[in-house]
Symmetry: C2
DNA sequence: CAAACTGTATTAAGAATAATAGTACACTTA
DNA sequence: TAAGTGTACTATTATTCTTAATACAGTTTG
């Protein structure tokens, strides 16, 4: 279900958050569908349950999921589906531009920073890094 | 001269590398211009000289600068100037597309990952993260 | 009801990395 | 010669992520 990079600088709980976000937004995980329990997923991924719970807590804060004690964690149905075809088209255009930027000598790092700055300027302060 | 984010997950030596790269590529630092000494810059930024040296070493490995014992560290003139106008135009187009992607519900994280994957697929394995 | 499952919380310890501190050596320049 | 340069090395501190081991409250199921 997941591929985690244990050697990344990015914490695995944060990788989990991102992966699950994608699965939810793209409706691989359906609205109100139950997520694996913290202990089950921990066993599957052979990582500590606390790490899973940290990810779930973060996802709940960002209202991607909701959790009910004794029952489980579920996909928040408010998260509306994206227009995937449109997104694919945009990504295709994006890739062309990015490659052009690379060709012009713009570094990956500079590009990433640029993207992040677009983000924060339009949506308010986000996570550090 | 620099703005460092001491609270970022990104190490400050790595932030230094990126900032200096930009200054060099954009020729804010001219070819063969001498960089501040490790001790001077450390004092200015109130960080440890070892951290500066780590950044300089990395920049030398990536051949953005060259260092001569007893003399100093200098900008490698091989680093050619970029076409800044062209880059600005590309960035402008890029910003529009990125905002469109945001509007479609693509997360910043997903976008950053997408950019990074373009990079690695076209230029071989880079740094983790 | 009882057992087994859920989420949640807490404390402690381990591991890894970044950053600092301090010192030293070789080289260049004024 | 003195001061400034890059470079190297060890040790220590600090931070963060992860694990470990419990514990408690609620739900579900036999």
């Amino acid at each position: 279900m997941f591929e985690l990079d244990m050697r990344s600088r990015k914490p695995i709980y944060e990788q989990l958050v991102e992966k699950l976000k994608e699965l939810i937004i793209n409706e691989v995980l359906k609205p109100d569908e139950q997520l694996p329990s913290v202990r089950t997923l921990a066993q599957q991924l052979t990582i500590n349950p606390n790490t899973i719970q940290k990810a779930y807590r973060e996802l709940e804060i960002q209202s991607f999921i909701y959790s009910i004690k004794g029952k489980g964690s579920f996909v928040n149905p408010q998260t509306q589906k994206k227009d995937n075809l449109k997104i694919a088209a945009v990504k295709h255009e994006l890739e062309k531009l990015v490659l052009e930027a690379f060709y012009l000598g713009v570094s990956v790092e500079e590009l990433l920073k640029f993207i992040e700055e677009i983000d924060v300027s339009k949506r308010g302060g986000d996570k550090i890094d």
